[in-house]
């Protein structure tokens, strides 16, 4: 357990409810882009563990290497130094843009990860139906992505991610581009699905309230280089709403710490 400058203790990663071997473990992970004088330290010595079924939100100012962190866990990128271990196969990944394949219908998009795994056809069809009902999109199965709103596209992306049957779900600011009411609904869908399936989630966002609304734990990253500055456990009973006073209070604390962190860069 580390003790921080203001005397409070950083919460240790293995927070009791998620004891046992972690689903995702990063050990002293660094990622440097470029080389020589122009090298950029995106991440520097990051240690992070995500327990099975734990929902971890990562917040930080822009340039803190949040997206790099996810790319490393997803296996789309390799660390310059350190180790990344992921249990239970390739994690599913969601982006700020839903990234649906525009030439496929909604149903075929959800179907694709199962086709790639060679799941038998009739089994796939039943699963697509089930997943679309889960995200309340059973009526949009034959639509094309361009006919949907941003929030609906993200729900399709969530259904597609679930179709991967991964134990871990990585999300890179997935709700940054949708309106507040839609975002509320998406939070509700995501919280329900993640809890039902006991998924291990790493959710990157710059919206601190959102992080507190969703997470079991909030990890604050510093910028350039990205390091873990502090971790906050979110001991607020579920179901939560983003307007809950307890959510607001913790979000204020984290935001204050984030401001402090960003301020360091201005003083240089």
């Amino acid at each position: 357990m580390r003790v921080l400058a203001d005397g409070t203790a950083a919460v240790s990663p293995a927070w009791p409810a998620f004891a046992g071997p972690p689903a995702i473990r990063l050990e002293a992970v660094s990622r440097v882009f470029g080389s020589g004088a122009r090298a950029v330290d995106a991440l520097d010595g990051v240690d992070l563990e995500v327990g099975r079924g734990e929902f971890v939100c990562v917040v930080g100012a822009s340039g803190c290497g949040k997206s790099t962190l996810l790319a490393l866990i997803a296996g789309l990128d390799r660390p310059t130094e350190g180790r990344v271990e992921v249990e239970g196969g390739r994690p599913a990944l969601m982006f700020q843009d839903a990234g649906l394949l525009p030439w496929l219908t909604v149903a075929r998009n959800v179907d694709l990860p199962m086709r790639l795994r060679r799941v038998p056809r009739d089994e796939r069809a039943a699963e697509v139906d089930r997943l679309l009902r889960l995200v309340h999109l059973e009526g949009a199965a034959d639509r094309r992505p361009h006919q949907l709103s941003g929030g609906m596209r993200q729900r399709v992306a969530l259904a597609r991610a679930l179709a991967q049957r991964s134990e871990a779900l990585l999300m890179d600011e997935p709700f940054a581009a949708v309106d507040a009411i839609t975002r509320d609904l998406l939070h509700e869908d995501l919280a329900r699905v993640a809890a039902d399936r006991a998924m291990s989630v790493v959710f990157v966002t710059h919206n601190v309230r959102e992080a507190v609304r969703l997470g079991d734990r909030v990890v604050l990253l510093t910028s350039r280089p990205g390091r873990v500055a502090e971790e906050f456990s979110v001991d607020i009973a579920r179901p939560r709403r983003i307007e809950d006073p307890a959510v607001g209070a913790l979000a204020l604390r984290i935001t204050a710490r984030l401001r402090e962190e960003i301020g360091r860069h201005g003083r240089r």
């Binding site: 390739r90 990944l93 982006f95 990234g99 394949l101 309340h136 949009a140 709103s149 009411i181």
Partner: protein
């Protein structure tokens, strides 16, 4: 809490319904009129200008025939079956050459896009071939193959395949990196990534390349038919045009040019435009947004 949940579900259903209700489509008749009327007007203006030039005797009538003279030439040629025969001969030659150009250009383009060495080795050569007037190939074609259909197809293939290859290269290079990341994170690698992500993503750009290749094929075909003369060679549109030169029949020449133009418009309008429109509108591209 149950009440709040029901509220949320209802709000969500409301948002979705607002998004999915499409605006009413304009009536079919009105759409056809809006598309066709400008074309008819433009054609009418051109015809009127032509007729005016004839009436003013800008040139003697054997050099500048009236639209009605060209029309009667057309009717006469049609009755003798020359037009349908020439159109069929030319289109089948063009389609055959175009098909071979697709068979050569498509794998070549894929290879150039995926293998950097190949692209570096022949990329600029293929680009240069595209700007080379394909009529130059008539000469080596005649010397190699003689005055026959093979020479004509040879010229068509060499005129068309660079556009196919370059279209495929450009289309693959423009694949959004996000879709590649999505494909890889869904577990697609190598062939599966190509089959499910890269190639479908490249389809609109590839089809645009094919459309351009067809227009190159058609031009090359006319040049080749105009020059390649032989008694045992079937009568194509280029030869029909050349018979206008040989008999000093301007009316026949103009008619042949108009038929060549009409075939070009028809192939684009009946094959490439609908194909590209369908592919693009499925993806919400090209002004086809709901």
């Amino acid at each position: 809490m149950a009440v709040a949940d029901a509220d949320l579900v209802r709000t969500g259903a409301g948002l979705d319904a607002l998004e999915l209700s499409a605006p009413p489509a304009p009536s079919r008749l009105r759409r056809v009129v809006r598309v066709v009327a400008p074309k008819v007007c433009a054609a009418a203006v051109l015809l009127a200008a032509w007729q005016l030039a004839v009436n003013l005797h800008v040139r003697p009538s054997y050099l500048l025939p009236a639209p009605s003279d060209v029309w009667s030439t057309f009717v006469a040629q049609w009755r003798e079956g020359h037009i349908t025969g020439a159109v069929w001969t030319s289109i089948s030659r063009g389609a055959f050459g175009f098909a071979i150009a697709l068979l050569i250009g498509t794998p070549l383009g894929l290879l150039m896009a995926r293998v950097a060495t190949v692209r570096l080795a022949i990329g600029s050569l293929v680009a240069a071939l595209q700007s080379l007037p394909s009529v130059v190939w008539v000469v080596p074609g005649l010397l190699l193959l003689g005055p026959n259909g093979a020479t004509i197809v040879f010229v068509v293939v060499l005129g068309a395949f660079p556009s196919v290859a370059l279209g495929a290269v450009a289309a693959l290079e423009q694949t959004p990196p996000l879709l590649v990341d999505v494909g890889r994170s869904l577990g697609a690698r190598g062939l599966a990534l190509h089959r499910h992500v890269l190639l479908p993503a490249a389809l609109p750009g590839y089809l645009a390349g094919c459309r351009q290749a067809w227009s190159f094929a058609w031009r090359s075909l006319m040049a080749a038919e105009l020059i390649t003369q032989s008694s045992d060679l079937g009568l194509g549109l280029g030869q029909l045009l050349d018979s206008g030169r040989q008999t000093l029949d301007m009316s026949l020449a103009i008619m042949a040019i108009l038929v060549i133009l009409a075939v070009g418009i028809a192939v684009d309008g009946l094959v490439f435009s609908p194909l590209i429109r369908t592919v693009n509108s499925r993806r919400g591209l090209g002004g086809a947004r709901a």
